[in-house]
Homo-oligomer: 430 residues x 2
Amino acid sequence: MMRTRPLKVALLGCGVVGSEVARIMTTHADDLAARVGAPVELAGVAVRRPDKVREGIDPALITTDATALVKRGDLDIVVEVIGGIEPARTLITTAFEHGASVVSANKALLAQDGAALHAAAEEHGKDLYYEAAVAGAIPLIRPLRESLAGDKVNRVLGIVNGTTNFILDKMDSTGAGYQEALDEATALGYAEADPTADVEGFDAAAKAAILAGIAFHTRVRLDDVHREGMTEVTAADFASAREMGCTIKLLAICERAEDGASVTARVHPAMIPLSHPLASVRGAYNAVFVESDASGQLMFYGPGAGGSPTASAVLGDLVAVGRNRLGSTTGPGESAYAALPVSPMGEVVTRYHISLDVADKPGVLAQVATVFAEHGVSIDTVRQQGKDGEASLVVVTHRASDAALGGTVEALRKLDTVRGVASIMRVEGE
Amino acid sequence: MMRTRPLKVALLGCGVVGSEVARIMTTHADDLAARVGAPVELAGVAVRRPDKVREGIDPALITTDATALVKRGDLDIVVEVIGGIEPARTLITTAFEHGASVVSANKALLAQDGAALHAAAEEHGKDLYYEAAVAGAIPLIRPLRESLAGDKVNRVLGIVNGTTNFILDKMDSTGAGYQEALDEATALGYAEADPTADVEGFDAAAKAAILAGIAFHTRVRLDDVHREGMTEVTAADFASAREMGCTIKLLAICERAEDGASVTARVHPAMIPLSHPLASVRGAYNAVFVESDASGQLMFYGPGAGGSPTASAVLGDLVAVGRNRLGSTTGPGESAYAALPVSPMGEVVTRYHISLDVADKPGVLAQVATVFAEHGVSIDTVRQQGKDGEASLVVVTHRASDAALGGTVEALRKLDTVRGVASIMRVEGE
């Protein structure tokens, strides 16, 4: 059954993930060949720094001319692990034009230009696979795209960024503040020197866009995702969360509206009950909850980043695409037939935990409660704590729209008796 | 892009799962058509009791002649949800012979005759998919077979039977005995009138065989799986487990030997640390841990049984097989190229928790410790409790082979000072 002509694979990028892909392709060559049905040959590796020593890779394969590599015309599969928008985007489309299928780990690019890339793949009859773009080794794209293809997904709720989960877990378990926890994450290599993409939620938002698109058979772009970072989360927020039997996680949440006619996607810190399986996801691990009509609740858990796990996801795609090449077929392409509108954040409905600093005098609670009522936001519980003329009021609401909550908070800020809004946090997973 | 001629699907069996498959095929017809690329038509339903009212199914489609149905020759896909070995096996092979691909939820049949069925599918160029056979809606077969195709799986450790997990969870949380917890499971519909297949581990063993086969690219049959039920687990065992910071679960464990040259598969109750993610799997839920070289630890969690979740898995396969039909291709077939030997239970290496009833007099511990040492089983901890001339000794070992442990226990039973071996339980997940 084994075909003699090998499948030729070009690797674009040879950093943490790329070098691990090359290493496994070499050390597990026999296994890969058996699983694909043909030998898999590394035909070229495009790098920026050709002088760097790359153990186990034939120096003759190294090139700095990625464009020439993808234009060779004899490639079966191009593996793109450069990241970023350009030159990755042009290299991928050039690869399709010259007859190769593509495996990518590029979440930013897929979230921004997924539709155009899928169209280019389809135009040339090629595959575009990107399991590694979301949650590292955790199989998520394939289960959503294939295993749940006969089901109706209503919600995807997940921890999809390991760096921020490490920081939040550290704050929760040690009482540390944000900066202290970030410093530790940086020292341990969990956070990059510039942590913006992680802590401001850009990374998670790209993944949310990709997941929402697949889950709802609808194009969702990065711009459609409401994004709030987690740099404002304080030790006091964790204390409040604990009083409610909750912890705080940076969540990516993709939801179908209750009437089914629209979807939303968002990334922000939120309280979730300690009894929720996502609450016990520790350190830099990722986990994604999927709720659907027939399956109920599924959870996928594992390492969300790192060279080896991401390489595993790339190689899984490589085997699938390789098999497709041998069978002269392609796997499922983009499925965007539902084309549901993506609603703005104001239409998201959830619960809220609001801490107010208020004057400690009679009538304040009545005033505050009136403001909530006037905006149609129903209060679940209120807790008052007061001393020395200062007091705090913690309000937990029933489900309300983000727009209604926003109006409520704006009105609260105008009350004389409200000295400040200490924190607003959404409550999810209930 | 939509093809006009519909894909014709026959349903064999219309019980809890089958009727749910039929219902979703009807109510979600447009979604299925969009995802497959062609309308999907229910062409016939084989049942045993034709007079039963089946809401939403055209009575003209009902037949008692399953053989004639699969021989029609115009079917694209046969969905087999009858269960059991015959007539399911003959109907599936007949379906292949007459041009149909097959989606099955039949774990018993796949565990016993998977190789022959895969061969029949391949001979006729058809697909055989069976995601629903293991852990209901939890995508497990596809991730193992495809997402991890570029990785090396070393271990699969899972709770794959919801009935027994419900019973054990109940015993753990309420202190109930086995019979009491079983009675409650029966009353709530989680256990069948005859619970043998679940509580004796037959169901889990079939799933273990299927998972081991896919994980290790090796044929593993039901007979290769060591099986112990959980009817002997007592409230005292749970008390011992708690003292160790553990709980007890019925686990399916598929392992590659440390030298990589053989594999084992087994089902038995075992202690696992409360800190292990599997320890917090409650009620009738299932969860499977997968450990591999590159991915590290992944976990898949969800409802392991029930009409809707199982139907979701069947329909996911139906979409994949339907797409394959339209593309005139087939998905990955059996991958058994590694053909590793399956070692007997004696070669399994793990830790053990042993409770002994012993005479309360000096020298007993020395005698017992000598027996362990003579059999090469190293002791981790010992705890003695004594009163009124009776005493118990709880020994937890380091890792040792099952054969060595068996020899140890046999020798212990022969000691005058050992009145009895109260319980032996393996300790996993550390």
